[in-house]
């Protein structure tokens, strides 16, 4: 089925774009001007590290056939280095790789401005190995994985695997690593919301690869039944992804207009992401009204939830918890209400006469993912804290992590120190502005 493979190549490239540059721009714009490069680098580095780990043992652990411990993960050595995977399977590997990459990159938003690059690079392979690959196996190895086997829960494109997983990890890391110097005391407002708006728009565009590419029921074998399934399934997920995101943007703007008096550009960008997060698990489970309802609820709820961190003293810098954990839980659990047997998933939820069964399955799957990610991330977070340590020096953090960790600054501002020529300049080194 030519169309199937052509689409999957495009979808994979779209999801790659979601991490670099879309997520990097989205987070980078929200960070301060002294730390934007580091914020963006956390996404870029996640691409490199997680991507390579994925082809080594990630695919094998997630989708290998040698199931371990009752469906918790698959044997990492069975298909190590893609040994035994035919070239015809590479597109499937690549597509799933991009999901692992962005899930890990999402976490970086919770710990902006203060983490050593080395600690992040050590964290990434550990976390995907012990949290992402197992949960992907549990949810997406149909009939074999632990969650899939026991709960019959629907997670089309990653409400549990991606968003709850990353959201919980962000929460744990923000707690273990601690607040930025001056959090709650000094202003830490976004330094460039145009970057954030561009990033949110690109995320939306890329998300079509993420959701619509996550074909669950069309196998791609090319039979007439399969072609029909491909067409209807992509139609439903494409439409649902779109309308939920629109509703979420309006939901966020409405809530912040009510609470704070203004509808903001950051609110529109955030609402887009909240809607995309919530429709991720549910895009194949619901019909049009359900998609709009889930989007609107997620947009409004997340707009309210992002304010909680100040009351809780939690420095979840770019609101990974408020958007991805809250949006991921809502999208996963609301399937239990809005799921329809007319959608590709084929299960009726509470509002469609299906009783409480679906709702119970969805809550159980969400709960299991929360506990797994919470326990695993806590262990990794403390292991790093008591060995190589997470934080850069306080003085470096105040001066700006971009210079401390990368030796660069993002912008040539009038107030910055500039140095003309090289150190071999005949007049010595002209240190202009050093005393300014």
């Amino acid at each position: 089925m030519d169309g199937y493979y052509a689409w999957m190549i495009v979808a994979t490239a779209l999801v790659l774009m979601m991490t670099t540059p879309a997520l990097a721009l989205f987070y980078g714009g929200m960070s301060r001007s002294k730390s934007v490069l580091n914020m963006m680098m956390m996404s870029y580095v996640a691409m490199a590290v997680v991507g390579l780990v994925y082809v080594l043992w990630g695919w094998s652990m997630s989708f290998g056939s040698q199931d371990q411990l009752g469906g918790l993960f698959a044997n990492p050595f069975e298909l190590f280095g893609l040994d035994g995977v035919g070239a015809g399977g590479y597109i499937a590997v690549m597509f799933q790789m991009t999901f692992a990459v962005i899930t890990a990159a999402l976490i970086s938003g919770a710990i902006a401005d203060r983490v050593k690059l080395s600690a992040w690079i050590v964290f990434l392979p550990l976390w995907v190995t012990f949290s992402y690959f197992p949960i992907a196996h549990m949810v997406w190895s149909t009939g074999v994985g632990f969650i899939s086997k026991h709960f019959a829960a629907q997670d089309y494109a990653g409400g549990t695997v991606v968003h709850i997983n990353a959201g919980v990890a962000g929460l744990v890391l923000a707690l273990v690593i601690g607040k930025r110097v001056g959090f709650g005391r000094e202003p830490m407002r976004p330094h460039n919301l145009t970057l954030t708006m561009v990033g949110a728009g690109l995320l939306w565009f890329g998300w079509y690869g993420f959701n619509v590419g996550s074909l669950v029921f069309a196998a791609g074998d090319g039979g007439p039944k399969d072609v029909a399934q491909f067409m209807t399934e992509t139609g439903v997920t494409f439409l649902n992804t779109t309308v939920a995101t629109m509703a979420a943007m309006l939901g966020w703007l409405a809530v912040e207009r009510l609470i704070h008096g203004k509808a903001t550009s950051l609110g529109a960008a955030s609402g887009i992401v909240a809607g995309l997060v919530a429709i991720t698990p549910s895009c194949g489970a619901v019909e049009l009204p359900g998609a709009i309802a889930i989007g609107a609820v997620a947009g409004g709820a997340c707009a309210w939830a992002v304010g909680l961190k100040y009351r809780l003293g939690l420095d979840d810098s770019m609101d990974v918890v408020g958007v991805h954990l809250v949006g991921g839980i809502l999208g996963t659990v609301l399937i239990g209400l809005f799921s329809s047997s007319d959608a590709p998933g084929g299960i009726d939820g509470l509002l469609y006469g299906g009783g409480l069964g679906s709702l119970g399955d969805q809550i159980a799957a969400a709960g299991f993912a929360i506990v797994w990610s919470g326990v695993v991330t806590t262990l990794i977070a403390f292991a790093i804290r008591y060995t190589i340590g997470w934080r850069i020096d306080e003085e470096d953090e105040v001066e700006g992590i971009d210079f401390a960790e990368h030796g660069e600054t993002a912008y040539d501002l009038a107030t910055s120190t500039s140095r003309f020529g090289s150190s071999s300049s005949p007049t010595g080194v002209l240190k202009e502005g050093v005393n300014a």
Binding site: P187, R189, E256, G261, T264, G307, Y310, D319
Partner: protein, 112 residues
């Protein structure tokens, strides 16, 4: 010689410049600055977090003029920049001891 310094609303800069040019002022130094006065900045909200933004963007104009022109120049600036609303800015005058034109080495009144 006097140094006339004006800190004004940025959008008033064009009007002020035109008025000064008509009067015959041939040059000035302009910088983008920030500060606050009685208006005390404003509040911005980002994802539910309110920030008191104390510093408001302003434009600063520095002009060195002859003693005889001080009254006219300051009047022109005030007239052109005035909106009557809070945050219009301030103009002040200070004494200048010496002026040297870099290109020619001319001094004081000749260099103004």
């Amino acid at each position: 010689m006097k140094l006339v310094t004006a800190v004004l609303k940025p959008h008033k800069w064009e009007e002020v410049r035109e008025a000064l040019e008509t009067f015959g002022v041939t040059g000035m130094t302009v910088s983008e600055v920030s500060g606050y006065g009685r208006q005390k900045g404003h509040t911005e909200v980002y994802r539910g977090a309110e920030y008191d933004v104390a510093l408001v963007p302003k434009i600063r104009i520095d002009i060195v003029v002859d003693d005889t022109e001080v009254a006219d120049v300051t009047d022109i600036i005030v007239k052109a920049a005035q909106t009557g609303r809070i945050g219009d800015g301030k103009v002040w005058v200070s004494t200048v001891e010496r002026v040297i034109r870099v290109r020619t080495g001319e001094r004081d009144e000749a260099a103004v």
